[in-house]
Symmetry: C2
Amino acid sequence: MTHTANNPVSSNDIAFFADAGIEMMHAETKLDARYNMDMFDKYSGDSQVVLFPKTTKQVSEILAYCNEHRISVVTQGGNSGVAGGAIAHHGEIILSLRDMNKVRELDPVAGVLVADSGCVLEDLDNYVQEHGFIMPVDLGGRKRCMIGGNVSTSAGGLRYLRYGSMHGNVLGLEVVLPDGRILDALFSLKKDASGYDVKQLFIGAEGTLGVVTAVSISLAPKPSSAQIAVLGLNEFTKIHRAFVLARQHLGEIVSAFEFWEKRCNEIVVEYEKYTSPIGPAHEFYVMIETRGSCKKHDAEKMDWFLEKVQAEQIADEVKVFRDQEEMEAVWLFRSQMASAHTKSGCMYVYDFSLPPKHQYDLLLATKKHMESLGLFGAKDSPVKDITLFGHVGDQNLHLQAVAREFGGDVEAALEPWIYQWVGSHGGSVAAEHGLGAHKGKFLQYSKSHVVVDTMKQIKNLLDPRGIMNPGKCVDRA
Amino acid sequence: MTHTANNPVSSNDIAFFADAGIEMMHAETKLDARYNMDMFDKYSGDSQVVLFPKTTKQVSEILAYCNEHRISVVTQGGNSGVAGGAIAHHGEIILSLRDMNKVRELDPVAGVLVADSGCVLEDLDNYVQEHGFIMPVDLGGRKRCMIGGNVSTSAGGLRYLRYGSMHGNVLGLEVVLPDGRILDALFSLKKDASGYDVKQLFIGAEGTLGVVTAVSISLAPKPSSAQIAVLGLNEFTKIHRAFVLARQHLGEIVSAFEFWEKRCNEIVVEYEKYTSPIGPAHEFYVMIETRGSCKKHDAEKMDWFLEKVQAEQIADEVKVFRDQEEMEAVWLFRSQMASAHTKSGCMYVYDFSLPPKHQYDLLLATKKHMESLGLFGAKDSPVKDITLFGHVGDQNLHLQAVAREFGGDVEAALEPWIYQWVGSHGGSVAAEHGLGAHKGKFLQYSKSHVVVDTMKQIKNLLDPRGIMNPGKCVDRA
């Protein structure tokens, strides 16, 4: 791999950073272990030094120096990624954006926020809510993740269905390029058709093309009313029918459309001790949230939608939640799905996008494949559960295979088979978690070689010495 | 300029295309003059041959041949651009996408359309409406413009406020690269965080990086109700206050928020003979459209909004239009603004994005500047009118300077002064019309040199021989 060609950090380098007045932690004195470990203790690194620049100029000085001396750099925001993308596996310098955490500007008319990359997502959301807005992105890691990391992983999350992607919402970026030049593309304009939109390259690049130091982002008006309906269904295709009806009858107020299947529901009840929002058991569950600007109107729309759902016999059970505490309980139930699986056994988790017509087949095909290898389906099979839940509206599925123990034949049976299956059914091998440390090699299954070659050419163009997060996301040719 | 280095089309080349079975028009037999002229008769070209490929494979054959023989190519969709981007100024081959006009797929659950680039926007809108959707983009040229051109110019248009940008709505592209390789990035997935989003580079590239042959685009649910309010105001800042209130009270149903000033209104009345939607004369006019899924709810929301507007004494006059014919008349009044100016004299038109706080200053500063040069303000000044209208919600302004005749000192007085002014006030020199043939040289005023250099590096990387639309948008270094 190319990254091994780069140089380790020397005492001269440390002296340079100290002289430049850059705050740091290093292994000889004290380096907090959490910078070398991801939040699920899955990926660990061996960085010897963490730098804490306070300004874009300092980031520029650091990268110019590292590029000149061929020292590799891993940028870290909240280090809350789940794909190992922010871990320094090869002794790279960690460049933490922790101390670049100021709001630069909020335009209350245009609804545009400009903020340093190290701002924590939840802090920004709280801040803009005081001005009548919400951030267009929200995710489970909101208390820890930082906006620069959200941009760098092209975070999807819970508001995607309503507000769309980072590619649409990010209006501008300030990026320090690997050679230290500052790419000032921190525009705050919604319409801008003047040349190539170069900032787009850094959205989802997982820190492999430069360091995003500031973000300009379009905000959404803060909704004033919310409600949730949970449906119990007995056929997967009815989920899609419900989605089409929701779009027709709930129209502009639908803000989330989630589903999970029976076994997911059981696992949350069993391992998190939460009460199922509806019962008795159904084959499938759908959770629909609306957010709007008028409680009365939103309630009426929901009633019309549910009448239609019942008239078409789509759901066996329907329950509406309008009380704040009850709604939070439903969201909590939904959001504990991943951790409940972790508690139930040794989880292999996958984050795919798939066209609707192939979504359920993913679960059936995976079960069949694992059964055919003798790894699933019997009472004492190595894999206890294979489950599916996800964001229907975004075509984003999370598939879990829960084994009795890590190791054995399970991972080799799943990979690359599952990536190949997803790629050959029009899916993506990484929907919202990024490629990180592990999935770059599976990219070929869902992206044509011309696309992958073009990515590598761009990597070579912008980071010719390969100092930025080597081995992650897209590496050099 | 680099493009002069490329070769003219020879009879050998014509023979090659004929042998390859590619339909064509050429000057020796008959070449329809409209391929060498833009729709406003402003830009003219001198292409000798227009090719009409029917398949992506044919486009690939054409480009591979042209790249090998260093022959320049201008791609043409509906040729309805207003910036000369699709005109073959230097005898380039025109590659028309006219015959690539099939819908490839519509996913009725996901709401995703995949179509050939040569599909006319209005045809696509009609087609998807049959399935309960609308296109996320609409513009005045809808009867003629093609989806490939919409993507290549990053078209903004009339639905931008509600549905956002092409960068957010386009899910995938099929692009033939200058060397003939087919970049199959025709994904139909909403969430996809797997590597660099290379398709983004072609959105807004105005055909300088390759030929977009197919587009996958996210559709919006078709709204079932619409209404329009027109407000008369006497201060520019009240427009912004009305916008903030609309976001609060009309929330998720606002679909357009347009403004124009007094003189624009007079010019439409005088030169198009349309009746002003409200009267008597106001300093400023605001037009707010809502589109939603329930007529009754939408009407109530509009009433609450207008009560608030009146309580805060924002508007001197308010009128609501809910009748279909009346609403069409208001839109017609608004959409005739550009053509009315053309009829009133010799129009210099500018398409800028500007942050709200500088929007009105643009008009005042331009008037003052032209007055100081003795070109505006007196009874017989060379410039009769300087006017402003635009899309407030998108920060997109159109400024017109109407002269008594073309030529003289007017253009030199306006340019580059006006681009410089816009650039130094955080604006963009091209909001939704693209850079085209003329504005590339002004890009430096609104984009930093690192951004422009990066664009040029990307052009060099993807089109090293500079055969794609040379001299337009971003040219090689």
